[in-house]
């Protein structure tokens, strides 16, 4: 744990009878960074977020936020924490403004903050509409406004882009980036929109079956993501056989009918010569690199490719 640590968990564990939801999780989130917390459904993301906020008690281990240990009864630290857990929620009989005013009063924020939050999240057109009559997207904006209203130092956001349209996603992304870069706000966010996390997060933690599989920053992700050459051809099976027979040992067939040739960095011209020379009609040959989604799926055992051909199979074909 460094002096810059804002959120730290130490051997954090949560067990529900037979189910181990979070298993000895050590996190270290630093000031002013955006930390993307990734995991499949049931991986333990929301349970972790709930423990960060003191909503559920760890079976063992500790959580500290801004240097304060989160324990039941400890509330002062939450003056500096804004959050959104799971689904957006609000009092349906109250207007957007009234819902935010409740948050303002409970956090002791000045009176102007309600309007600031309304403006910041683009809620002005619906400010006097009851929350029960909001679209899902606006309800999400309201929940984000609630999280931001008291100008917290730490934001804990569970799926912040949920229900937002593409423009809304970009807007929230820019807002979070600005908060982190300009105001030094630390953002801990989970998301299932991996491209979103890839765009936004400074560091990424991948949780699977309750355990932190990997923690990496952008550079590390780039270094670990495998380079490959993507090929589309009229006779893809023949192309596969040719490649496997020519010493390209790691050829995978993609779900979209393409071939991906790994371990082929800088060998695209050689591949092109091989296939064209064999009279194959190539329609695509693109040097590429795994994105976060592909890396995530590979790491968590959910490979996106559908078939893997071994060299032996290739030779036989």
């Amino acid at each position: 744990m460094s002096a810059d640590t804002v959120i730290a968990t130490s051997a954090l564990t949560k067990r529900y009878r037979e189910v181990l939801a979070v298993d000895v999780l050590d996190l270290d989130v630093r000031r002013g960074e955006i930390y993307g917390f990734l995991g499949r459904n049931g991986a333990g993301k929301t349970t972790t977020i709930r423990m960060l906020l003191g909503l559920i008690r760890p079976t063992s281990g500790e959580v500290s936020v801004l240097g304060a240990r989160i324990a039941s009864g400890r509330t002062d630290v939450f003056a500096h924490v804004g959050y959104l857990v799971e689904s957006a929620s609000a009092y349906p009989n109250l207007t957007v403004r009234e819902n935010l005013d409740i948050q303002r009063r409970l956090t002791g924020a000045p009176g102007t903050r309600t309007d600031d939050a309304i403006d910041r999240l683009g809620l002005a057109p619906v400010a006097d509409r009851r929350a029960g009559r909001l679209s899902l997207g606006n309800k999400q904006r309201l929940s984000l406004a609630r999280a931001l209203l008291h100008a917290p130092q730490v934001l804990v956001l569970d799926e912040p882009a949920n229900a937002l349209d593409p423009a809304g996603i970009v807007e929230v992304r820019e807002l979070l980036r600005t908060l982190a870069d300009r105001d030094g706000v630390t953002v801990f966010m989970s998301s299932h929109i991996l491209a979103e996390v890839a765009h936004l997060a400074d560091r990424i933690g991948i949780i699977h079956d309750g355990r932190l599989l990997e923690e990496l920053d952008r550079e590390e992700l780039h270094a670990k993501a495998r380079a490959y050459v993507e090929i589309a051809a009229k006779d893809i099976s023949r192309a596969e056989s040719l490649l496997l027979g020519s010493g390209f040992s790691h050829v995978e067939r993609g779900g979209d009918g393409t071939l991906r040739v790994f371990d082929a960095e800088n060998r695209a011209p050689e591949i092109a010569r091989l296939l064209v020379g064999a009279g194959l009609e190539l329609t695509q040959l693109t040097p590429s690199r795994e994105d976060l989604e592909a890396y995530f799926l590979r790491l968590t055992g959910g490979e996106a490719v559908t078939e893997t051909a071994s060299p032996a199979e290739g030779s036989a074909a």
Binding site: P92, N93, R105
Partner: protein
């Protein structure tokens, strides 16, 4: 400062709330219903012509007099009030789970006990307004019916009896609040309240009525036996303990239990 802020927000949550009007309508139906019975008893012929159950009302041995009206009022409003009060507290605490807002109020710079205290205060204010309205409504209806047998002492006695019953009923509220936060919703507390009333009725017939919290109010208003003039001090102690334990259990539930809504 914090108490004021939390209390203000708890009252804000009732804006445009239909449940407040529904409870007012529900409880005010009690005196209206009794008034209808009184009218049927007094005008059986016209009631029969209109297809109302005049015969059954007469068979119940009712008299269209102030004493009869007040006695029935005490019974209906007392028991109806106990059930309605369970609805109110289940709503005040349970709406946070129905609206999925419980998670929003549990990681704030506000001690969770303040939510318990202020929600109980809101319930108390709501209850006081309902009881005051129903008392005024009941007396007005009694006069409008022109019932015989009025005396100021009689009405005052009935009002005091109802006020005591209303106050003692409130002491059971925190336990219902605890069941609400434990069950994270409205169903469990309402089921619990009805079950306790049934159990209270049963205990009332065994002679343990003065010791069982949910028998004491029914005993006072004459639901399970003839109304008692004075309850033993132990009954009040039990109700006070129920109140305190209910608050402690609700606070502990919010503070120490997992809130995985």
């Amino acid at each position: 400062m914090m108490l004021t802020a939390v209390l203000t927000t708890e009252f804000m949550k009732l804006r445009r709330c239909k449940v407040t009007w529904a409870t007012l309508g529900g409880l005010s139906m009690g005196p209206l219903g009794i008034a209808l019975f009184m009218w049927i008893v007094r005008e059986p012929g016209r009631a029969a012509q209109m297809g109302l159950l005049g015969t059954k009302a007469n068979l119940a041995g009712l008299e269209a007099t102030w004493p009869s009206y007040l006695s029935m009022l005490t019974l209906i409003v007392g028991i109806g009030g106990m059930i309605l009060l369970a609805f109110i507290v289940a709503y005040v605490f349970g709406r946070e789970y129905d609206n999925e807002t419980a998670k929003n109020m549990l990681a704030l710079p506000v001690g969770r006990h303040w939510f318990v205290v202020t929600k109980l205060a809101v319930t108390a204010v709501w209850w006081v307004i309902l009881v005051a309205f129903v008392l005024v409504e009941s007396i007005a209806i009694g006069f409008a019916l022109g019932l015989p047998g009025f005396s100021a002492g009689l009405v005052t006695g009935a009002v005091v009896n109802l006020l005591v019953a209303a106050g003692l009923s409130y002491l059971l509220v925190p336990v219902i609040a605890w069941i609400t936060v434990w069950g994270r919703g409205n169903t469990a507390p309402i089921g619990f309240a009805i079950a306790m009333l049934a159990l209270g009725n049963l205990f009332g017939k065994t002679g343990w009525a003065v010791w069982f919290p949910w028998s004491i109010v029914p005993l006072l208003i004459g639901m399970v036996a003839d109304p008692v003039e004075t309850l033993p001090a132990g009954s009040y102690v039990i109700l006070a303990l129920t109140f305190v334990m209910g608050i402690a259990a609700t606070t502990a539930q919010l503070r120490f239990a997992d809130n995985a809504q």
